[in-house]
Amino acid sequence: MASEKKYEFSPEVEKRFQWLLTRYPTKDAVLLPILHLVQDENKWLTPDSIEYVAKRMDLSPARVREVASFYTMFRLNQKGQYVLQVCHNISCYLRGSDGVIEHIKKRLNIKENEITPDGKFSLERVECLASCGTAPVLQVNGWDYHEELTIEKVDRIIDDLLKDKNAYPDYEKRISEGSVA
């Protein structure tokens, strides 16, 4: 749509971008960190944000998309507001991740890789998240870990997210409570 505002770095991202440029001997090396910042701000890597990053990085948009598409953390499509990713690798499987996935599918009435009609949730299977000792694990939006899952705990997490509560919980607090990190 013509009326839609084109993506631009916010002042904070701009500041971080300028700092990042001083940390590497080549400009290309800033690409991964800056894509993370853009995605955090924009929820996903929209075509116009990729073009903007390419322009700022002196790269072609195709090159930026080539790199972004290699890495599973970068989203090139719109997903739910909360992306629920459950690890299905060996350690999590042994501790019951299949049951967690089935439960979420039933609870949200979606299949894997689908978005709920209200755009709130999407569900994905992912590979090992380095939480094997506290399996099974669910991560929300790519980095918010919820470990040692039980069906009740999954329900609690979804309930909280439905109320937009606990969406970005305070890590420090949760660690000091010894619950989850």
Partner: protein, 455 residues
């Protein structure tokens, strides 16, 4: 990390993760006050580089990221008078299934890693370092960035570290969820802002690595051991392990799967696997028995329960045909099906193959698909033969070792538990191939074949 703080087992040690569970263990004040923080780095800046390398060589410290290469020797490969800047990169892209040891060090003791990096940088003459952390570990990234800022404020990092006139800059670089970036040349490609596809070797990174300069890539746990070695000497490190310089010191093992107490445990190298599983981790779950385990992450060949009486060091595990890998034990008990585990292992490598070498790109996917067919009760004898053949034809035939990492565990499971696979097979005569669903003319041909199959 949610592991409860429990009393330590007498075998357990706290060297790499000393301070774990203590209040604010990740701050510089805590580290300096309680763990002689940065004393080793202060010592290192006034030591000749060769002496640091010599001490690390004598200590027998070996890479804890998977390959087990002697660290001191790796450092000595850096050219003496390099024409380009030397880089030190810490590999914190912990992605091997079952591994979660580096995360504990970065989240709870980030300063130990930074101090190790300062000492290593002095040894190899590097002025610039990067910590490549996997992108999902936001807490580790935050803790490391905070710790680096604290170290800059005290002039432990920067243009004049400890007033010695030497410079060392350190930056955290987030990865973005690619297992292959744990391979050192894949990591370097990714650090340079490219797709993380491994490079052909030679040249090895120590000659030409990141940004074209000589580069050393070390694992988190390896670097975090360096301060202790410099402060207490090589003898101390050797004595702590199995008494030889072939497997010295301690390692943090991540134990997951079917045990009473999964978690991470720091023990001397050479502790027996059976001691670890039965005494420290509390044995199998009630009513079950151990069947097998991966001793070094999902890419290490399986050990059967009767082989558990083995010291966990590089050489003893290698003698058993497996490896210490990234110090990650995944335990499987008698309630589990090995073909299912095998299929999930192959699926991981099929998903993570970077796609540049054909044997790996195709081989891992074929392996996964054939194993999936076997697990769904539709596989035949020739599927197993073809899985073996795919494994034989990808291992050792690609740029990096990802294809070996898939072939080794799959082959070991086929060899050690053949009866479990054969139980699932159907005779060739009963096999009906799955026909893909497509539209257009080809689709109608396939529909006709499908109809004939069913009649």
């Amino acid at each position: 990390m949610s592991q409860k703080i429990q009393p330590l087992h007498p075998i357990e040690k706290r060297v790499l993760i000393a301070g774990y569970g203590e209040d604010k263990s990740w701050t510089i004040q805590h580290y300096e006050k309680n763990y002689k923080g940065y004393e080793a780095a202060k010592k290192a800046v006034s030591m000749p580089a060769d002496d640091i390398i010599k001490t690390v060589k004598e200590s027998g410290l070996r890479g804890l990221g998977g390959a087990g290469f002697p660290t001191g020797m790796k450092w000595s490969f850096i050219p003496k008078n390099p024409t380009k800047p030397v880089y030190l990169v810490c590999n914190a892209d912990e992605g091997e299934p079952g591994t979660f040891k580096d995360r504990q060090i970065m989240e709870h003791c980030p300063h130990r890693l930074i101090e190790g990096m300062i000492a290593a940088a002095v040894a190899i003459g590097s002025k610039t370092g990067y910590i490549y952390v996997r992108g999902e570990l936001r807490l580790a990234i935050k803790r490391l960035e905070d710790a680096i800022n604290e170290a800059y404020a005290k002039n432990y990092l920067g243009q004049n570290i400890f007033g010695s006139g030497k410079a060392f800059d350190l930056t955290v670089h987030p990865g973005a969820g690619a297992y292959i970036c744990g391979e050192e040349t894949g990591l370097i490609e990714s650090l340079e802002g490219d797709r993380g596809q491994p490079r052909l070797k030679p040249p090895f990174p120590a000659i030409s690595g990141a940004f074209g300069g000589p580069t050393i890539v070390n694992n988190v746990a390896t670097l975090a051991h360096v301060p202790g070695i410099l402060l207490n000497g090589a003898e101390w490190f050797i004595k702590m392990g199995n008494g030889t310089n072939r497997g010295a010191g301690t390692t943090v093992w991540g134990v997951s799967g079917d045990v009473q107490k999964p978690g991470f445990f720091e023990v001397p190298v050479g502790t027996k696997l059976s001691t670890m599983l039965n005494e420290i981790c509390g044995g199998p779950l009630p009513g079950r028995k151990f069947k097998a385990c991966f001793p070094g992450g999902s890419s290490s060949p399986l050990l059967k329960a009767e082989e558990f009486d083995v010291p966990m060091d590089f050489d003893s595990l290698a003698a058993k045909g497996t490896m210490m890998g990234s110090c990650a034990i995944i335990v499987v008990d008698d309630s589990r099906s090995i073909p299912e585990i095998c299929m999930r292992t192959a699926r991981f490598y099929a998903h993570e193959s970077c796609g540049q070498c054909v044997p790996c790109r195709e081989g891992t996917k074929w392996t996964y698909k054939m194993l999936r067919r076997v697990c769904s009760g539709q596989g035949t004898k020739s599927d197993l033969k073809n899985v073996q053949s795919a494994c034989d034809n990808m291992a050792g035939k690609t740029i990096c070792v990802l294809s070996d990492a898939c072939a080794m565990p799959v082959t070991s499971m086929l060899k050690k538990f053949p009866e479990e696979f054969e139980k699932l097979l159907i005779p060739e005569s009963e096999f009906t191939p799955e026909l893909p669903k497509v539209s257009g003319q080809l689709g109608s041909v396939l529909d006709a074949i499908r109809a004939r199959q069913q009649s």
